[in-house]
Structures are given as structure tokens and as C-alpha cells.
Symmetry: C2
Subunit: 256 residues, 2 copies
């Protein structure tokens, strides 16, 4: 064997993170990001520079229970040793829960068929030492029926320009929202969103708009008119990032 390294492998990882205080997924100079931390420590483990591809570029402060990334390596570390090795180097805010070798063609971003996000809110008057990192504190009663009615207007295939950061790069702003369901557990409200893709800030603008419905500041019907307007100003405010969590990324079975 002339090759000092191993054969080239494509490795897929499942990554969880508490995004509090992190500058989001995407690597940026002089900032702590999930991609940056993964690349830095994988470089040590694999013995060469690593480029990590993430399924979703979550914003600063957003969390993940099921982010998916992949990277190519000719290092010799066994695949099943990668989570333990990586978790011993990563800060406690980030954890790799699984690693597997996948087809060389697998691309965590381009092959993603959909994503599920969950947004959490705490509605009791008092803040919570346990939930404040992971839930938006809206200390007022919210009209669940109105918020669900508003959410229903968004389900389906639509142009989501109104629910997308004005600065977003995407040219085609049509997406298919497969589910938008509110659930209540005590003082905690959660909105689960499943779509074939999310535009920049889409989940947070949907939440911010529906909360305006829940507070009685706009009717559920205005969610439909906002959608039709195809301009950012027609929708509501962007909900804060810390209530949002990337639950999972959906792939065709064959590619993962």
C-alpha cells in the first residue's frame, strides 16, 4: 500500500446542538459556529483538513436535535469511533449522536427531501430557568384555535416570499409546507413545521405571524392575504431564534 491514508469515505453524521451563544451553523471567521467546530475537530481526528456539508444552515441561536452533515475523508479512523472521538473534543453544547458511511454521492444539503422544525413557546406569566434557553417567553394567553386556523392557510404548495427574509438569496420561493400543527402541554405551546424546504427565516416568520393572530392583533384570515401578497411586509414579525429547533432532515431511503 503506497497510500499513507485510507480509502476515501463519505461519512454522514447526526448532530445535536444547543445553539445558545453560537453564531449559527455556517462557518464564519472568528466566530464559534457548528460547522467551524466540527471541521476543526474532525481535522484532528482524520489527520487532514475537512469540509463539512450541512443539511440546513441554522441561524445563530437556533438549536438542533437532528441536524445532518456529511464529509469526505481519507483518514483511517473507524467510522464507528468518530462520535466518541468527536464528542470528547467538542464543547458540551454540541454532540454527534451517530456516524455512518454513505454512498460517495450523498450530499447532506442537496439530497434533503424535507425538514421538520419545532418552535416552542412558554406562555405563563413568569419566565422559567429551565425553558428560557429553548422557548420564546410570550407571557400572555394565546388563541390556539386562531393560530391553528392561520397555520392551515399555509399548508400546501405556495410562494412563501412573504414569509422569507427580504435579503434571502433564493430565486424560487415556492415551497411545499406538509404540516403545521400546534400542540399544547401545560404552559408550553409547540408548532411543528414540516416542509420540502425552508426559506431564510421562514419558520420564524410563520411563528411570529401566527403569534400575532394568537394575541388578537390580526385575524387568521390575514395569514392567507399575507401569503398572497408575496411581500415580506405583509407577514408578521420574525420570532426570536432560541425557540426554534431543527428536529430532523428527511432523505430518500436509498441515499442515506
Amino acid at each position: 500500500m503506497d497510500d499513507p491514508g485510507g480509502r476515501m469515505r463519505n461519512i454522514k453524521l447526526i448532530v445535536q446542538y444547543d445553539g445558545t451563544g453560537l453564531a449559527g451553523f455556517q462557518a464564519q471567521p472568528a466566530q464559534r459556529t457548528i460547522q467551524g467546530e466540527l471541521e476543526r475537530h474532525l481535522g484532528k481526528i482524520c489527520g487532514h483538513a475537512i469540509r463539512v456539508i450541512g443539511a440546513g444552515r441554522t441561524d445563530a441561536g437556533v438549536h438542533a436535535l437532528g441536524q445532518v452533515v456529511n464529509f469526505q475523508t481519507h483518514g483511517t479512523v473507524p467510522t464507528d469511533r468518530i462520535p466518541v472521538a468527536l464528542n470528547s473534543l467538542l464543547s458540551r453544547q454540541i454532540a454527534v449522536t451517530a456516524a455512518e458511511e454513505v454512498a460517495s454521492s450523498f450530499h447532506a444539503q442537496y439530497d434533503a427531501r424535507g425538514k421538520a422544525y419545532r418552535y416552542s413557546m412558554l406562555t405563563r406569566p413568569c419566565r422559567s430557568p429551565f425553558l428560557d434557553r429553548f422557548a420564546w417567553h410570550v407571557p400572555k394567553p394565546l388563541d390556539m384555535a386562531g393560530m391553528q386556523a392561520g397555520a392551515e392557510y399555509l399548508v400546501g404548495r405556495h410562494d412563501f416570499t412573504s414569509f422569507c427574509a427580504a435579503k434571502a438569496e433564493a430565486a424560487d420561493r415556492r415551497r411545499e409546507l406538509l404540516a403545521a400543527d400546534w400542540a399544547k402541554s401545560g404552559d408550553v405551546l409547540r408548532l411543528t413545521l414540516v416542509a420540502n424546504g425552508f426559506l431564510h427565516n421562514m419558520a420564524r416568520i410563520i411563528v411570529g405571524t401566527l403569534v400575532e393572530v394568537g394575541l388578537g392583533r390580526r385575524s387568521a384570515e390575514t395569514v392567507r392575504t399575507a401569503l398572497k401578497a408575496r411581500e415580506r411586509a405583509a407577514a408578521g414579525r420574525t420570532a426570536p431564534p432560541h425557540g426554534l429547533c431543527l428536529l430532523r432532515v428527511i432523505y430518500d431511503e436509498v441515499s442515506a
Copy 2:
């Protein structure tokens, strides 16, 4: 009215805290403690020095969802304004969820008829960015049936000397354990303990001993023999504090 302050009131508070990095409940010089933080900020709100009495002196790192405290004040701040005023001053790790005026005789510690604690563990191989502050990471399969069988031996009225820190001050080490129930939710195991009182480290030594049963290092039967031995060395190790949470304090209805 000659009195510059208001009439003397006895106020009961419900307090929640994430104990991470705090030096426990009891005030100590030059340490951040729950009692110390409450007394410092209540002093500002009430306009005079405040002495806070807590139902349970939780250890450093232990959390609370339902700690109960009381204090006497002749300050004029309305009782229902105290939570908002206090929460605006307290660090985000501590929150007061309720305040009410109670009989002048009410004493949060002496009047407590019982307490409920919950201990949480994460058993999956990988640590968790979300649960690591609140659950002991035991990355091995645990025998739930064995741990429950061991727990059953402890239910009832017993001398818990074996399950008490050797340095504990209590002379009478008999307590009545009313419930000791394990529950499993995915990778998370939780033990709920309800007793008329807890000796120093009692909950954590019970958990540490039962986990040794769960790992197969001792039989469930040895929990009974440990109890009978009435010496600390007969029981298992003390589980770490960060898995423990004071759920609630039980009072006779009349006193609260």
C-alpha cells in the same frame, strides 16, 4: 400612622432554579446561593434586611421546580407585585413563580409535611446538549426491573442511616419513604421519591445505590441488607447533584 413601614406580613414564595454553578440553597459568604440571591434582592424590594427560610436546603448543583420559602416583611410592596419585581432583579437561573401572604405562624421548613424529588438519568451512549445540565449521563443499559425491586425495599418507615451522608447532623434518622417509582421515557430514566423528609444526600445515595443494581454490580436484595446495616458504607455511591430536582413541598392545607 406613626409606622413608616407597612404592617408585618409573612410571605410564601414558590421558587424555581437551575442549580448549575450555584453553591446550593443555603447562604454562604462569598458564594452565589439561592437564599443569598433572594435575600439580597428582597432587601431592595422591601427596603429592609430580609431573612429567607427555605423548605429544603438543596445541595450545590441541585435544581428546583417547587422550592418553597417564606420571609417576614414590614415593607409596603404589594404581595402580588413581588414575583415580577424579584424576577427582574434575579439572574435567569432563578425565578419566583408565585407569592402569597400566609399566616404569621407559617414556617417553610418546620411546617413541611413532605417533599417530592425527581432524579433524571440519560442512558444513551452519547451525551446530550439539552439534557446534560439536568440528567446524570450513565451511558449503559440499566436493569429497570432490578432498580424498581431495589426501590421497593426502601418504601416505608425506616432508619435511613445507610442512605445518609456520614457527616449529617440529624440525630433521628428515621424517615418514611412514601413512594419510589422509576419511569422510562426513551433514553431518559426518572426516579420520583416522596418522603416525609429527606436526610442529607438521601435522595442521591438512594439513586447511586439503585444504579449499582441497574448495572448488575449488586443485587436488588442488597438494598434491603444495606438498609438494615445502618451504616453509610453499606449503601452505594452518591449520585451527582445535577440529576436531582426538588419537585414540590407538601404542607397541610391549613398552614399554606
